[in-house]
C-alpha cells in the first residue's frame, strides 16, 4: 500500500530564458523574437508602466474614483499578447490591460474609460480599468473573480464548433485558483477538449492573502495535471520565456484542440488597487526588491540593449513621448462630455423595453418640472 504524498520532493521547474541580468541562459530553447518585435514589446512594456504611474496619480488626485496597476507584471501582459494572434479572444481578469494596449486600444481610449465619459466604448457604465472592446476581441472586464474561466471554455467551444484557427485565452491570479469556477473551468476545458489557454499570474498576493495561505500545493502548475491538462510553470518576469510559452501553448491549443495551463511566477509590485495599502501587510523591502532588482522591464531592456537594438536616446524619447500622449489624453478625457441621460436606459436589453421607455419619459418630465432637483451635468 502506498499513498501519494501531499507534495513531491522536487518542485516543478520554472521555465526561464533570460537570467536576472537579461543574459540568455544556456541550454534553454525558446521561440525566436525579431528586432522589430523585441523593440515593440519593450516599448509597450514601458508604455504600460508609464500609464499605470500616471493614472495612479490621477486617482490619488481624486480625478477618477479607482485605479489598479499591473506594475511588476508588465512582461506577462505584453509578452503573452505578443505571442497571440488578434483572432484569439481574451477573457481577462483585470490586471491585463497590456493585452489590450498591444492590440491597439489607444491611450486616449484608456483615459476615456477611466473618466467614464461619452467616448468610452462602455458608455461610462463600468468603474475604471474594466475595459472592453469587441473590435480587439477583448471581453469587458468582469469583477467577480474567476467567472471568466468557464466562460472562456464556452467561447473556446464556440471557436471549436466553427472550426476556427484561434483559441480563447483567459487570465486570473493565484487567489482565483481557490474559486470554484477555476476548478469548474479546468475540468470542463479538459472534458470538452476546448482550445483555451489559462494564464495564471501567480504574483504572491491575493489582496492581503499570501500564497502560503492560499494553497498548500506546489503552486498552481500541478493542478493542471490533476484535471488532465498540459501545464507549464514559467518565469513571469522573463518576457522571452512568457513569449515562448504562450506561443507554444497556442500551437498546442489550436492544433491539438486541447487546453493548456500556464503558471507565470511574478510579484504584484503595486497595491492590489487604490482601495488597498499593501505596506500594512508586507515589508517595504520586499516590494522594493521586486520593483528594482527583479523588474521584468529592466531585465528585458538589458537584453534588447545588449543586442544593440535600443539606446539611451531611444529610451528618453519613448518615455517623454508616452508621457506627453498620456497627459494630453487625460486632459481630453476629463473635459469630454459625460454620458447622456438616454444611456442610463439603453442596452439593458437588445431593444428598449416598454417599461424602460416609460421610466425615461417620466424622468425627462420630472427633470423639466424640477430642474433644480437633478444634476446639471447630464446631457438631455
Amino acid at each position: 500500500m502506498r499513498f501519494i504524498s501531499d507534495i513531491s520532493h522536487k518542485r516543478v521547474p520554472c521555465y526561464r530564458v533570460l537570467d536576472d541580468d537579461g543574459e540568455l541562459m544556456t541550454h534553454t530553447n525558446h521561440v525566436q523574437v525579431s528586432k522589430e518585435m523585441a523593440v515593440r514589446m519593450y516599448s509597450e512594456m514601458v508604455t504600460l508602466q508609464t500609464m499605470d504611474n500616471i493614472f495612479y496619480e490621477v486617482q490619488r488626485q481624486g480625478r477618477i474614483s479607482f485605479y489598479l496597476t499591473s506594475m511588476g507584471e508588465e512582461a506577462i501582459n505584453i509578452a503573452s499578447a505578443a505571442a497571440l494572434s488578434s483572432d484569439d479572444i481574451i477573457l481577462p481578469q483585470y490586471r491585463e490591460p497590456g493585452v489590450l494596449l498591444w492590440r491597439g486600444f489607444t491611450l486616449q481610449q484608456f483615459a476615456h474609460q477611466c473618466f467614464g465619459n461619452t467616448n468610452d466604448f462602455g458608455k461610462g457604465r463600468q468603474m475604471p480599468i474594466h475595459y472592453g472592446s469587441n473590435k480587439h476581441n477583448y471581453f469587458t472586464v468582469s469583477s467577480p473573480i474567476a467567472t471568466q474561466l468557464p466562460q472562456a471554455v464556452g467561447a473556446a467551444y464556440s471557436l471549436k464548433m466553427d472550426g476556427k484557427s484561434a483559441c480563447a485565452v483567459t487570465f486570473c491570479g493565484d487567489g482565483a485558483t481557490s474559486e470554484g469556477d477555476f476548478h469548474a473551468g479546468m475540468n470542463f476545458a479538459a472534458v470538452m477538449e476546448a482550445p483555451v489557454i489559462f494564464i495564471i499570474r501567480n504574483n504572491g498576493w491575493a489582496i492581503s492573502t499570501p500564497v502560503e495561505d492560499q494553497f498548500r500545493s506546489d503552486g498552481i502548475v500541478v493542478k493542471g495535471q490533476a484535471y488532465g491538462i498540459w501545464s507549464i510553470r514559467v518565469d513571469g518576469n522573463d518576457a522571452l520565456a512568457v513569449y515562448s510559452a504562450v506561443h507554444t501553448a497556442r500551437e498546442i491549443a489550436i492544433k491539438e484542440q486541447r487546453p493548456v495551463l500556464i503558471e507565470a511566477l511574478s510579484y504584484r509590485v503595486g497595491h492590489h488597487s487604490t482601495s488597498d495599502d499593501s505596506t500594512k501587510y508586507r515589508p517595504i523591502d520586499e516590494i522594493e526588491y521586486w520593483k528594482m532588482e527583479r523588474s521584468p522591464v529592466n531585465r528585458f531592456k538589458r537584453w534588447v540593449e545588449r543586442n544593440g537594438w535600443w539606446s539611451e536616446k531611444d529610451e528618453l524619447e519613448l518615455r517623454s513621448s508616452v508621457r506627453k500622449q498620456l497627459m494630453h489624453a487625460i486632459q481630453v478625457a476629463e473635459k469630454a462630455q459625460k454620458p447622456p441621460l438616454e444611456d442610463l436606459f439603453t442596452d439593458v436589453y437588445d431593444q428598449l423595453s416598454s417599461n424602460l421607455e416609460e421610466q425615461e419619459r417620466l424622468l425627462r418630465k420630472d427633470i423639466e418640472k424640477h430642474p433644480k432637483d437633478y444634476p446639471s451635468d447630464v446631457p438631455l
Partner: protein, 353 residues
C-alpha cells in the same frame, strides 16, 4: 452524474406522460418543449442544449449529435459558465437545470454575467441564452427541490423571465426564448410535464411563436380578476369553474411572462372587474403578487372595490411530509375563498389554512 441518478428516483411522482398519443390533437407539455427545442435546433445550427435530466431533450442527442447536445460534468457553475461564454461568442445555448433550485450554484453567471454584460459592455456583448428547467413546488421533494424563483429572477433587469402553463405556452414561449437576443430564464413545472392540453394546428406549426411580455386571458369574466402563472393557472381555472356555479364570473389571467410583466393587461382587467386575486406558489414577501399589487395600486387604485387578495406559498421552506406540504402550497379552495372575500366579504379575512 448525481443529478441524473437522483432524477430517476423522483420521476415516478409525475410520470403520467402517455397522453401524447390520444387522438383529439392533444399534446403534453413535455412534447411541446421537446418539439420546440427540436424545431429551433433544426432552424439554427448555433442553438445547442447543455445537460438534460427530465427527458425534455429526448431524441435530440441522437438527432443533432454530442457536439450540440452536451452531457456535462455535474457542476452548475461550470455548465452555466460555458453556456454564457458560448453565448458571448456566437452560440445560442439552452442550459438546462435539473431544477431551478440548483441554479443557485450558478447564479453569479446568470445575474452578474448574463444579465449585465450587454449593459456593462454598452451593447458590445449580447448574451442570447436560455436557462430552462423545472421550477417551484413538485411533489414530496422537500425544501431544496421546491423553491419558486420567479420573483428572484423577475427582480433583475437584463433578464427576461417566462413561465409557461399549457402546451401552447410551452411551445410558443420556448421558441420565443431561443430566438430572443437577450438572456431568458424559462421556468417550467415538473408536475405539468406529463399533462396534456389541446393544441390547434397553428400551435403545431413550426413557425408558431408567442410574444414575450404578453399575458393571456385564459377565461374572460366580469366580477374578479385572478392572476396566476405556471401550474397555478390550472388551479385558478378550476377555482373559476367553482365560482361560476356560485354566480361569480372570474377573469383568469395567465401571466406567461414575469419580466417584462404585462401591466396593461392586468390593469385593464382590474378596471373592468374592480377586484383582484393574485396567485403564486412562491413565498409572499417581495413576490410576484406583491409586484402586481403595486402596479394596480399605482395605476388603478380608484377602480378597486375591495382590498387585493394575495395567495402565495406559506412563508416556510417546503416541508417533506405530504400533509404539511399540502398546507404550504395554494389550493383551489384557497383561491375560491379569496375570490369570494373580494366579491362579497362574506368569508372572514383569517389566514387561509
Amino acid at each position: 452524474m448525481l443529478g441524473v441518478i437522483r432524477n430517476k428516483s423522483i420521476r415516478h411522482t409525475f410520470s403520467n406522460f402517455r397522453h401524447f398519443s390520444s387522438p383529439a390533437k392533444q399534446m403534453t407539455v413535455r412534447d411541446a418543449l421537446n418539439s420546440a427545442l427540436d424545431e429551433e435546433m433544426s432552424a439554427d445550427p448555433k442553438v445547442g442544449e447543455y445537460q438534460g435530466a427530465y427527458k425534455i431533450s429526448k431524441g435530440l442527442l441522437e438527432k443533432y449529435g454530442p457536439e450540440r447536445v452536451r452531457d456535462t460534468p455535474i457542476t452548475e457553475a461550470g455548465f452555466t459558465g460555458i453556456g454564457v461564454g458560448a453565448a458571448y461568442y456566437g452560440l445560442k445555448p439552452v442550459v438546462e437545470f435539473m431544477t431551478f433550485n440548483f441554479s443557485m450554484q450558478a447564479i453569479d453567471h446568470i445575474i452578474n454575467s448574463a444579465a449585465k454584460s450587454n449593459y456593462m459592455s454598452a451593447g458590445q456583448i449580447s448574451v442570447p441564452i436560455v436557462f430552462r428547467g423545472p421550477n417551484g413546488a413538485a411533489a414530496g421533494v422537500g425544501a431544496q427541490h421546491s423553491h419558486c424563483y420567479a420573483s428572484w429572477y423577475g427582480s433583475c433587469p437584463g433578464l427576461k423571465v417566462l413561465a409557461p402553463y399549457s402546451s401552447e405556452d410551452a411551445r410558443g414561449l420556448l421558441k420565443a426564448a431561443i430566438r430572443d437576443p437577450d438572456p431568458v430564464v424559462f421556468l417550467e413545472n415538473e408536475l405539468l410535464y406529463g399533462e396534456s392540453f389541446p393544441v390547434s394546428a397553428e400551435v403545431l406549426d413550426s413557425s408558431f411563436c408567442l410574444p414575450i411580455g404578453k399575458a393571456k386571458i385564459e377565461k374572460e369574466g366580469k366580477d374578479v380578476t385572478i392572476t396566476a402563472f405556471s401550474k397555478m393557472v390550472g388551479f385558478a381555472l378550476k377555482a373559476a369553474e367553482i365560482l361560476e356555479k356560485e354566480g361569480i364570473s372570474a377573469e383568469v389571467i395567465n401571466l406567461r411572462s414575469i419580466r417584462p410583466l404585462d401591466r396593461s393587461t392586468i390593469n385593464a382587467s382590474v378596471r373592468k372587474t374592480n377586484r383582484l386575486v393574485t396567485v403564486e406558489e412562491g413565498f409572499p414577501q417581495h413576490g410576484v403578487g406583491a409586484e402586481i399589487c403595486t402596479s394596480v395600486i399605482e395605476e388603478s387604485f380608484g377602480y378597486l372595490d375591495a382590498p387585493v387578495e394575495r395567495i402565495a406559498g406559506a412563508d416556510v421552506p417546503m416541508p417533506y411530509a405530504a400533509n404539511l406540504e399540502r398546507l404550504a402550497v395554494p389550493q383551489v379552495e384557497d383561491i375560491v375563498r379569496a375570490a369570494k372575500r373580494a366579491c362579497h366579504r362574506s368569508v372572514p379575512m383569517a389566514a387561509a389554512a
